[in-house]
Amino acid sequence: MTLALIGAVLAASLLGSAHCAGMCGAFVALAVGADDARPVPRSLLHAAYNGGRLATYLTLGALAGLAGSALDLGASAVGVQRAAAALAGTLMVAFGLGQLLRLRGVRLPRFRPPAPFQRALTAAHRGAFALPPVARAGAIGLLTTLLPCGWLYAFVIAAAGTGDPFLGAAAMGAFWLGTLPMMVIVGVGVRAVTGPLGRRLPVLMPMLLVAVGLGSVLGRVRLPPMHAADANVVGVVGAIDHVRAADQADLPCCAGSEGEP
């Protein structure tokens, strides 16, 4: 199951990464841009930038997985199983549907990052641009994760849905892998890359989100009813035992997928 989720994340991020090209193309260009005074191999700069991105993605994924596991633990205490996966899936579907509605012209409330955050981000980037080339590329990569990108955070939610720090990190690793090709070729020219796909992208992305979200909800929710029924019977007292049992039941699958990535 988890392997399938990670696969889905990989596929979705690969398809939707044209958005990243448009969004972060500026930063890629600034990170790997030629510095005639001190020539540094481009490949090294790409590695630094994407390495920075990977580091923060993995951290974020692990944290999200941790939060998800905490949620799972708390929810199972009140008798609800796999709460994180269900919640994450629902959120992703809702987010995707919301985007689709916006495309149809429906006005929905939106989250706007507070101005101090934006100022801090600007200051951080200004600091990053002043660094020597390789450090600059790495720092920009690290900062990329802080951008309030709905697409990125939809996948952080997916990572939380795994309910496990390692799997969360793995999911974000898959997201990183999926966006990698686009981030590397983006130097070629942002619009040239996004051109043919660009017009369909706003529709494609929410649909991918809905698909991954549904996969997360359905794939995870199918097993639990049995456990959920048990939990109702056993009640709060047996919750801890039950979590352990559930972990046992899940072992072959999880163990397999933990080994994979």
């Binding site: 040239a192 051109g195 043919p196 017009r199």
Partner: protein, 54 residues
């Protein structure tokens, strides 16, 4: 194991088919210019009105 007497020549015939296809393509000039076709596919046939440059 003696199936190898059939399979190996078959594999070589398949490889030869691949090479033949490549040679045909090369002789038709499909590899003359490796740069332009990549650029040719990028723009749509009827691109939307270009946004004014900011």
């Amino acid at each position: 194991m003696s199936v190898i007497y059939l399979v190996l020549p078959l594999a070589i015939v398949l490889a030869a088919l691949g090479v033949w296809a490549f040679i045909r393509a090369a002789r038709q000039g499909q590899f003359d210019d490796l740069e332009t076709p990549a650029a040719r596919m990028l723009p749509d046939d009827d691109p939307p009105e270009q946004a004014p440059r900011s």
